[in-house]
Amino acid sequence: MRVEEAVLPGVGHKFTVYTARGDRVVIVIHQTGPREVYFYRDDEDEPAAELELTDEEAREIGAILAGVIYHPEVVGDARTRVKELVLEWVKVEPGHPCARRRLEDWLAQAPGVHVLGVLREDQALYPNPPADLVLEVGDVLIVAGSRTAVDRFKEAGC
């Protein structure tokens, strides 16, 4: 598999994925949010199929493809438990009250939520972050919990 990335100034980014079968998938991410996906069979010039997705649809499909919702290894009653839980990526936006605060301050506002990891730009993932980790603007928190708990976490201040 080979992935090529190209910038389309003023439009967005273009990714070209060459699959093992010799087909080509072109994904355009517009800077305004929507995605376009094109499927080219073999070496053909015209796409055999195309797809337009909103940002939300693309994330959902992306999560499904990545095996977040159902992973082939998950069997038995573990699967139902996965269904009850939700996994979300929560970004610390500029001006967020919890920016530059400790993680535990935020968690105190929303019991029942687990932070599985923190993605920080240009750095490796912090797995299982310590409670006294100081959050920065731009951090993305991978949050797990019941739907209501995660919603409460997203709305909480510090």
């Binding site: 910038v7 389309l8 376009e36 001006g95 603007v137």
Partner: protein, 369 residues
């Protein structure tokens, strides 16, 4: 008309907004890009619409368009420019020199001839990026080349404007060169601290700061005898250097789209009075400009390694002119070169609809052959 306590500009705005809404609805119904309809709506509404009454919104639209063009520059974007795009951009840049030579041949002085060369040369990255996104051409190989060429064009024309766009003579050129240098140095050395500061600023203050910064920079450049267009463009470059591109795109683009629609409407409404004297000659020169650039851009596409068909499409995509053309036209008018200004406005007026047609039907036409 008796307006009571209401400011006349509010009435003009209501008329303009209604005309734009109808134009946009019609365009959507016909599955056609909206920009040419804004120009035509302006033309049709011109007996009732005084573009001056809409100010400062159309001017703000132009400044925000130039700002968003500048936003696409930043050190990261320039280093991402592929060799393909540079080769194509170099071939395409011949249009600037051929256009300027043509201007000298017509007896223009050097400055006006260079402005005319710019009018012939510059395609509209704002219009073309919008057309590519609206008509779902972003995945096509020619779009990558076209957008790369546009980055090249915008950079070259910004240089031309900085060198020849001033109205203060040699002092204007020196002042604008110093200002540009000062802005870029400030952005370079203050960037880390400023970026950290701006991260703590919420969305609304950010929008207002950004607007004040853009318009303020443009006015500063104008006052020092340089081109306000370069100022707005540079404000975008600085904002991109601060790593604000994604946030600003999200915050500014709805405002920009409204103001820019009013700008194109005002261009259409103001074009009627340019159809008078010398209209035939101006139209001929405008046609010549398009005719000069089409084969050059086909060659540029081939230089970037596109196939015959994709090369044709690349040349089609590069037809629409827009924001920089009108900046150059306004400068030429200030120089007393009404003909150059006429060519610039006429070029926008017919190249946007023509380009939109070529965009829309080009892939079908070229497939049959």
């Amino acid at each position: 008309m008796e307006t009571g306590g209401l400011h006349p500009s509010v009435l003009a705005f209501a008329l303009a907004a209604a005309a734009l809404a109808l134009a946009a609805a019609l365009a959507a119904r016909l599955r056609f890009p909206a920009l040419p309809f804004y120009l035509l709506a302006g033309l049709l509404a011109s007996p009732w619409l005084d573009p001056g009454a809409l100010e400062p919104l159309p001017t703000l639209g132009l400044m925000l368009l130039l700002f968003s063009v500048g936003l696409e520059f930043g050190p990261d974007r320039l280093s991402e420019l592929s060799k393909k795009a540079i080769r194509a951009g170099a071939v395409d840049a011949l249009a600037l020199f051929l256009g300027a030579a043509l201007g000298l041949l017509f007896g223009l002085d050097l400055k006006s001839a260079v402005l005319f060369g710019g009018v012939v040369y510059i395609s509209s990255s704002a219009v073309i990026a919008k057309l590519i996104a609206e008509l779902h051409r972003a995945a096509a190989p020619e779009s990558e080349v076209v957008l790369g060429v546009l980055v090249f064009e915008d950079l070259l024309i910004a240089l031309v404007l900085a060198l020849f766009g001033g109205h203060g003579g040699a002092f204007g050129v020196a002042a604008s060169a110093l200002l540009v240098l000062g802005f870029l140095l400030a952005a370079r050395f203050l960037a880390p601290r400023l970026a950290a500061l701006l991260e703590r600023v919420g969305d609304e203050p950010m929008l207002l700061f950004g607007t004040a910064f853009t318009v303020g920079t443009a006015v500063l450049f104008h006052l020092l005898g340089s081109s306000e267009g370069v100022g707005a463009f540079l404000a975008g470059v600085v904002a991109a250097g601060l790593g604000l591109r994604d946030r600003i795109e999200r915050l500014f683009f709805p405002v920009r789209d409204l103001a820019a629609a009013l700008f194109f409407l005002a261009v259409g409404a103001g074009a009627v009075r340019l159809l008078g004297a010398n209209a035939g000659l101006a139209l001929g020169l405008a046609l010549l400009a398009v005719g000069l650039k089409l084969p050059l851009d086909y060659l540029a596409g081939r230089a970037a390694g596109l196939s015959h068909r994709r090369g044709l499409l690349a040349a089609f995509y590069l037809v629409p002119r827009g924001e920089f053309n009108l900046v150059l036209g306004a400068l030429a008018l200030a120089e007393g070169q009404a003909l150059v200004a006429q060519v610039a406005v006429l070029l926008v007026l017919f190249s946007v609809p023509l380009g939109a047609l070529l965009f829309r039907y080009g892939p079908e036409w070229t497939r049959r052959r």
